[in-house]
Symmetry: C2
């Protein structure tokens, strides 16, 4: 958790492993996977899938830090930008849509994600 806390990035299991291993070389990759899975199940960590074959992890509500946000994904270099602006509009739209969908499809909706895809300045 210190490691997750110390970085803004969306880290992969391997990223965490490298950092953890640097601190304590006796830590194995398996433990990193197990711990990330547990933290995810506990709701402390959120697991993302950006489609590049490896999962990314991020602390939920990194205290004093990250809050609700979404992603802007560059299809060129696969870089990811977090954004958390314009959430008022989102709140309104999502709230409305979610309640309509819940009703119509009899789903108990607990979460959502919005991603925008495109090309960043460097990849254009």
């Amino acid at each position: 958790m210190d490691i997750l806390h110390a970085t803004d990035d969306h880290v992969s299991a391997a990223d965490v492993y490298v950092k953890a291993h640097r601190i304590n070389p006796s830590i194995g990759l398996t433990t990193v996977y197990r711990t990330l899975e547990m933290l995810t199940r506990m709701g402390i960590v959120q697991k993302f899938d950006f489609g590049d074959g490896k999962a990314r992890f991020e602390l939920v509500n990194n205290p004093g830090g990250k809050k609700h946000h979404h992603h802007l994904i560059c299809l060129g270099c696969k870089s990811i930008v977090d954004y958390s602006e314009f959430l008022e509009d989102e709140l309104e739209f999502i709230g409305k849509t979610q309640s309509r969908l819940s009703k119509k499809y009899d789903f108990d909706i607990t979460d959502h994600s919005i991603s925008f895809y495109g090309l960043c300045a460097r990849c254009r």
Copy 2:
């Protein structure tokens, strides 16, 4: 493409392979992957990642069929519901947000995806 056209589902490469193989047993899995990748690059097929480890494919603008839609994903059984209702609200919200994000982050945004997560009736 006939195979993709004949199903509403989000099929995996293996799904396509099984169906293709049934029609012509000389078709290999490699070719299925290669073809799906090509169609995706051509913009004819869209590749999705629902976080269950395998990619799903779907025809873009399945003529007379699928149009712009998003997904409702059950965290229990991993089933996926397409929805294409309430797009007027979405259009407004997405359009506004997209143009703001484009400007702020200097991104050339070409696409977006919205996913809702929760539990379907059977998994509750």
